[in-house]
Symmetry: C2
Subunit: 332 residues, 2 copies
């Protein structure tokens, strides 16, 4: 089958390689002419993976029109904050229908919305699905075993994508809870920052697990107010992604937390990383949402206060432990 | 307050130190006269922690009668397979009532039962509560931040224990789902063995997270058939304990898996560890229960086949990835 991937970053490339391994033909859309030429002429996407030869079934194009004409199956792998811009371009070029699967995770900062909402607003002629779960691109690219969840409003649409993508070392589980899937992917970065801080403070394994777990309880409380099923969040897109992000040095958010926990300011930490980790944006949107939906998120608020208020993690930790006594689960 | 701890192992000692830090007086019951003398004469429990001085508020006794007379609040920290024997001794000594809180995790192999069932059978004159969550004793003993769940049939009873134990770096969340709490604590060791195998096979971070996550889905499916709420299993006693066990070298079960993944036989691995890790027992009871409750547990079965059938993890991995396509959540 022909499949279009909009985007040409590391997850786009890793997914292209997986799809090619299942005998699909893939066209990557990139906004960088040099990258397009490098991929088409050398067979390497050196912008992401220096040493990995791409399959002959993978080509790239600068033309969005060509990319859209190549297939009716579109995989979106665009950075969250640029998603709206690309969708608007697509809406200008075509009113045709097709199947869209989104790999991006996060919240649109300007509106506080999840990505399915942005899609519905601009490109409602395409069916919408989302894929999420513990899937570091570096590992997917070299064929490490990976399992993810894929949600559409209808189970039938999710199953269509499942049949296309599932195979070899990449396993897909379907779900009909798009909101749950997107809440998990969007929020976990916040708790990865917290895990990095805790690791730098040498709080121990019990503390990291407690933090991830109470982070999950926050994600579930917020998610359930936003229309997600808490159970989706105990799946690959919630627990799974949280685990891989809180325990892996691959994660930029974890490394941001590490630097902050070592006593660096947010600005110093960002300078050291060379970029702002997504969690630093998301935490602002999530703290806004906690007010809008009237839900307590003490850990997310602490991360916010460390990053934007320059407060001390030590004092916030003491504050968290001094909170009033609670039952464990409070959605109902 | 006076609190009795039945048991004198590392978690019993760590809990005693925490309780003493909250100004409680603690009497530990031990079956080892030398250990009792060492604790009372030197103030060290050198059988567990060489270098940690116990508080003066902690004493030990060989006499079960004295231990039972010391308090009406009993914390049970007995290895799972010896719990029945101790309860029977207690039932012979006293018909008095009191409050019992169980720290042990696991399934009674001879009956396949969870521990609240064993208690109800023998000591129904005591109220029953259970404590579980990510709480390596080595860390609790030195005051690392730790959060756990504590369940009783009634929220009121759980809150009583919460008020006694919560404080300093040890935080308690209450629950009324005793079955959920016990299923989580009993089953996670199986998946820690699997995580150790995957780590030794260098499958990557995605795979470990997927494994823990699909393990959680199995725990939830089994738990929900046994009467647990799946949501409890997404809390500290499920996800939390699973994380700490799957990612920590403190865990004997993880280390058992590591050795097996490095190509050692089960017997060689046990010889190397110096003891059988609990997961190796539990997996037998859980595979039995999967038949009894008619629920599919492919990961638990794979661990069983590696340990008792000497099958190759590589082949079982391929088999797991070749299973028919599934939706993510299937309790209902």
């Amino acid at each position: 089958m022909n499949i279009t991937i909009l985007g040409s970053g590391s997850f786009a490339s890793a997914m292209a390689m997986h799809l090619a391994s299942l005998d699909h033909s893939v066209l990557l859309w990139s906004i960088d002419g040099e990258q397009v030429d490098t991929i088409n002429l050398t067979g390497y996407n050196t912008f992401c993976f220096q040493d990995i030869k791409l399959s002959d079934r993978i080509k790239a194009t600068l033309s969005l029109k060509k990319a859209l004409d190549f297939s009716e199956w579109y995989i979106m792998a665009i950075p969250t904050q640029f998603e709206r811009e690309v969708l608007e371009k697509i809406a200008c070029i075509t009113k045709a229908s097709g199947h869209m699967l989104n790999l991006a995770k996060g919240i649109e900062i300007s509106t506080g919305n999840l990505l399915h909402t942005v899609h519905a607003e601009i490109c409602s002629n395409f069916t919408y699905s989302a894929l999420s779960g513990p899937s570091h691109a570096e590992e997917v690219a070299v064929g490490c075993p990976t399992a993810v969840a894929l949600a559409s409003k209808t189970e039938g649409e999710a199953q269509k994508w499942q049949r296309i993508i599932n195979g070899n070392h990449f396993r897909i589980y379907t779900s009909d809870d798009v909101i749950g899937l997107e809440v998990g992917g969007a929020t976990k970065n916040i708790y990865a920052v917290a895990a990095g801080i805790a690791r730098a403070m040498e709080l121990g394994d019990n503390a990291i697990a407690a933090l991830a777990c109470r982070g999950l309880a926050e994600i579930m409380r917020l998610g359930s107010k936003m229309g997600a099923s808490p159970l989706t969040l105990s799946g690959l897109a919630g627990v799974g992604d949280l685990m891989v992000t809180c325990y892996s040095m691959h994660s930029r958010n974890f490394r941001l937390g590490l630097a902050i926990g070592q006593g660096k300011s947010f600005d110093q930490a960002v300078a050291e990383l060379g970029q702002v980790a997504e969690g630093a944006y998301t935490v602002r949107a999530v703290v806004e949402n906690s007010k809008k939906f009237d839900v307590e998120l003490p850990l997310a608020e602490s991360v916010y206060r460390v990053i934007y208020g320059n407060e001390s993690p030590q004092e916030l930790l003491a504050e968290l432990f001094a909170r009033s006594l609670k039952p464990e689960m409070r959605f109902q």
